[in-house]
């Protein structure tokens, strides 16, 4: 097991605090920035007096884990509320407003409802797998929280292959979806499972490839160093402000939306077509677990997009973790916005988009990044923009079947 | 064109068809001629009745009838109504589905409700009633078999609420209860007041 938790590492904090001493304001800013780290340090410091070393280590692990374990479900609960509120507003409705002020207690009401609901297992179902599937779907969703840098020094496990770890772990979600869809012995579930498999495999490729330019420029797979690489201009030199980063960000975000089965790529659970897809036969808390996984995935994927392209926790004035959450929630808002606006694409169009459009575009992006790396400033901005626009235009021309036709309508008197 | 002229025109084109005007509609006396006449009406340059608006059955006690409303989408004329009569027992009429696809469900409906068998229909099954349903509910002599039966508990409930239940119904329910059977039929909306 990897044991390099932030608490064991030497922070820049100690050296920086001397800077912070200069004025009261900056000092408080620093404290605020590192508030969680300090809290953890204090706890460890207290326990370190009367506990052996291994117990201290265990406590450190436990603190990190419990922070994530609380954050995950809590995010999920309030994301449901946020989603319903935002979509309601987009549809000129109010959204939940009966439980608590502005419906703030709605998630708890939902939770209680989910817990008290009857747990139905179909007669013909493969009971063991049917039971395991919701657990296996939540597991990777929680695991990937480990490598997200929530703020300065706030990464639970700073793996040097953090990015790959994220992608690898989230790719195992497919297996859980398969287990759910296969074990329910429902045809809608089965269709949902097959759709999900095809979708996950297809979208993983452009997603990974769209990340590659970032890795090329940052020179590391560790999420922390990627964030560090975007720290210039007072923490505003984000990768998204470069042509390749912009395109990569859009592609990555689209793939992320597809990866966590959200509209307009929510085919595996396309409500109007296959009822609820792979979780058709789930009820009660198991169903809630599927939902939890979905929302946590959208949170972590937004977090990763922020980390890779939007400078992570970098940003002026505000504490780092506030920046991170602001950016992440902005991306989640966009996801909800998608859901409130767009119809679902069809399964073959989904595949077509991934293989015929996004994949070549990411490859072009890769080449452009190389071009960017090896040329000097005035040339690289104009050149890469032109190249990317060209690639986009060629691909739209090649994918004629998805481009809308112009229709003319006649009138009879 | 006057009705007589139309009739003559059809008869000259299709010799041997017996036609008759009934209430501004053309009665085809031998139902087997129906596809011929319809085909003529659909294809002839003069009529072009290419659109079969409605197919329906009707029960006139002595005979069953199928009524076809034809229109022309090309010439925007119509309606031209064809009817064919068949006996209640041998209700067989050739289907118009080969000519007009739109007749498919409507003929199934007429079969379902009146029991008119459309020959050569590609898929003549019941459409609204369930498989295994007996009888043809739109025929005038159809008796809803269970309308007289109420469950004993229903009758109890009704009487408790001061609703009078006819004696016959009560008796029948009692009998069924004694036999240990539960009347399956549903309670008719509200028992008819006496």
């Amino acid at each position: 097991m990897d044991t390099r938790f932030p608490s064991e590492k030497a922070y820049p904090f100690d050296s920086e605090s001397s800077v912070g001493m200069k004025t009261e304001k900056i000092f408080s800013m620093q404290t605020l920035d590192q508030i969680f780290i300090i809290a953890k340090k204090i706890i460890l410091g207290v326990t370190g007096h009367f506990l052996p070393d291994w117990a201290c280590l265990l406590t450190s692990i436990l603190i990190s884990i419990s922070a994530i374990a609380v954050l995950g479900p809590f995010t999920m609960m309030y994301l449901t509320l946020l989603e319903r509120k935002v979509i309601g507003r987009m549809q000129n409705r109010i959204g939940p407003n009966r439980v608590g002020k502005w419906g703030l207690l709605q998630p708890f009401a939902d939770g209680i409802k989910m817990l008290t609901k009857e747990d139905i297992v179909p007669l013909e179902a493969d009971k063991v797998i049917h039971f395991l599937a919701p657990l296996f779907i939540v597991m990777p969703a929680l695991l990937v929280f480990a490598v997200i840098p929530f703020g300065r020094n706030m990464t639970a496990v700073d793996l040097n292959v953090g990015l790959l770890f994220f992608i690898a772990v989230s790719s195992t979600t497919t297996i859980a979806i398969f287990m759910a869809s296969w074990s329910s012995r429902n045809k809608f579930s089965l269709l949902g499972g097959m759709r999900s498999a095809a979708q996950m495999i297809s979208y993983e490729i452009p997603m990974v490839l769209s990340v590659v330019p970032v890795i090329m420029m940052a020179g590391s797979l560790s999420t922390n160093s990627i964030v560090e690489a975007q720290s210039r201009w007072h923490g505003l030199k984000w990768f998204v402000f470069t042509p390749w980063g912009f395109l990569g960000f859009i592609i990555f975000f689209l793939c992320a939306v597809a990866e966590c089965n959200r509209s307009p790529f929510d085919l595996p659970e396309g409500e109007s077509e296959i009822v609820a897809g792979f979780h058709t036969e789930y009820s009660g808390m198991k169903f809630a677990l599927f939902y939890m996984a979905e929302f946590m995935n959208s949170f972590t994927l937004s977090g990763l997009a922020v980390t890779l392209f939007l400078g992570g926790w970098q940003g002026p004035f505000l504490p780092s973790w506030i920046w991170f959450f602001l950016k992440t929630y902005a991306l989640i808002f966009v996801m909800i916005w998608f859901r409130g606006t767009l119809p679902r694409v069809r399964v073959d169009q989904l595949m077509g988009l991934a293989w015929k459009f996004l994949l070549p575009l990411t490859l072009a992006n890769l080449l452009v990044t190389g071009f960017w790396y090896f040329t000097s400033r005035p040339v690289r901005i104009a050149g890469s923009m032109v190249l990317l626009a060209l690639a986009f235009w060629i691909l739209t021309k090649l994918n004629r079947d998805v481009v809308p036709e112009k229709r003319v309508y006649h009138f009879a008197e | 064109m006057t009705p007589e002229e139309i009739k003559n025109k059809i008869q000259t084109a299709l010799p041997g068809t017996a036609l008759k005007w009934v209430r501004d509609t053309l009665l085809i006396e031998n139902p087997q001629d129906l596809p011929k006449v319809a085909n003529f009406l659909k294809t002839s340059e003069e009529f072009r009745f290419d659109y079969l608006s409605s197919v329906t059955g009707a029960d006139y006690l002595q005979y069953l009838e199928a009524v076809y409303h034809l229109y022309s989408m090309e010439k925007k004329t119509g309606p031209f109504v064809l009817r064919a009569r068949v006996g209640r027992d041998q209700a067989r009429i050739p289907s118009l589905v080969p000519l007009y696809r739109g007749a498919e469900y409507q003929e199934r409906e007429a079969y379902d409700t009146y029991g008119i068998i459309f020959e050569n229909h590609p898929d003549l099954r019941r459409i609204f009633m369930w498989e295994g349903f007996e009888g043809f509910p739109m025929r005038k002599d159809y008796v809803q078999e269970d309308s007289e039966i109420l469950e004993a508990s229903d009758i109890e409930w009704l009487e408790k609420h001061q609703v009078q239940v006819p004696e016959g119904m009560k008796k029948r329910a009692e009998e069924l209860k004694k036999q240990g059977r539960r009347a399956v039929a549903e309670r008719p909306g509200q028992p008819e007041p006496q």
């Binding site: 507003r89 987009m90 000129n92 606006t341 739209t396 | 409930w157 509200q190």
Partner: protein, 187 residues
Amino acid sequence: MIFGSGVLRSMLITLKNFFTSYFKGPEEGGIFTVEYPETRLPEKERFRNFPFLVYDRNPENLRCVACDICAKECPPKCIYIVREFDKEGRPLKRPAVFDIDFTVCMNCGICEEACPFDAIYMDHEFEIAGPERQSRLLYHKDDLLKSNEYFHKIRPTDATAIDQQRREAEEKKKAAAEAAAKAKQPD
């Protein structure tokens, strides 16, 4: 047109509605939800729900004469009337039983139209939900009776017009009776 511009355009529309929902009224893309138990839509006068029986002054004096016309005309046959008899067995002009099964009634308003005695009208009361299906929704005469004042309250225009008609009819009847009496007197 760049591929993707249509999607962006439709997203702008939803974003616009997201913001207008906070600032604008329901006419300009604001929230059009009516938070039902607290706020209600204005009641329309012609709104019809389930029928009720009108009485003048006191419940004994109801207009219904148990003629059974509404029961006959009622399309789903949800009205059930039994005429009242006096001790000698002569029929009285009032119902002993007047039941309407609201589970069957379909709010068509034909009873109101057909009634020759202006006795049955459609109510505005729609909050009749209850936990029990059968007994709660079978309304008996006592549940159905409502005063003419109530009728005036919910449907002022119709009620005034009908009162006017009834008064005229009454006067006509009185005049006719007087005329008949006058005509009789000389004999």
